[in-house]
Symmetry: C2
Subunit: 159 residues, 2 copies
């Protein structure tokens, strides 16, 4: 990756500069948050199902669902099961759907490199080909790490 200005420029890339990767990690970077997102991607929407399916405590699920809702990843929608009072369910927002490359990236990397090889396949429903996440530019070129340029367009404010 090429950095502009170069990483070695004194003070150019301070530790405390706002970083969009860190900002995303603050939202989804805890294990419970990621597991709940996985379940939301699987189609889970109800509090009880999030709890049952993840083995997380009710308190953890409540806290993390609230955080993901505040961050705009999930939104509450009322539903009413037959004979029961109205409750909220949690569904992915548009911003939540935009996390899909991250979720698919985690899945594919895990299948290739981490832990026991689960007997799973993730495919495109229409054509049955395997699915993966990849990096491209707006012109459609595939982009590798060495082809990236990160540019600071204004000096980073230090506090």
């Amino acid at each position: 990756m090429r950095l502009i200005p170069p990483l070695s420029t004194p003070g150019a890339w301070p530790v405390d500069a706002p970083c969009p990767i860190e900002a995303t990690i603050r939202v989804i970077g805890s294990r419970p948050a990621m597991i709940l997102l996985r379940e939301a991607a699987y189609g889970v929407t109800r509090f009880d199902d999030f709890t049952t399916r993840t083995g997380l405590s009710g308190a953890t699920v409540a806290t993390r669902l609230a955080e993901l809702t505040d961050a705009g990843v999930l939104e509450r929608q009322p539903y009413r099961a037959p004979g029961a009072r109205s409750r909220d369910e949690y569904v992915l927002t548009e911003a939540g759907h935009e996390l899909l490359p991250i979720i698919v990236g985690l899945f594919t990397w895990g299948m290739r490199h981490a832990g026991p090889s689960a007997s799973l396949s993730l495919t495109h429903t229409e054509c049955a080909a395997d699915v993966h996440a990849e990096v491209r530019c707006a012109s459609g070129h595939p982009v590798a790490l060495d082809d990236l340029t990160l540019t600071q367009t204004e000096p980073t404010a230090r506090t």
Copy 2:
């Protein structure tokens, strides 16, 4: 996402089944690990630079770099600064490079949806177009969440 068998099938998707997403999160899912990966993607290789640039403690950096090395994401390579004894530096392996869609996904999502808008742009060096992560199948079709099928190819063993 379509699941085969359906998520509602009793016992088909147990809490304790091996999950490649969880396996990846075990490797890179802590905030320090992700921050160190960001720095490695920026081109940082030396222990002291990882410590100085992240504000993480030396103990945390040492533990996490060892974990990332054991997981095959980083590898140690000896180097010798002029007049100093030989030391190791940490460089991304091929498996480490395969994390790029996740790292770029975190960056792009943060720029769009999280926190203060940093004055940064991530572009393709050759053509200067903006870069993003996306989900595609092996046939090259763009794939959205609703177009995905996750299939269990063998029954999941319960312990």
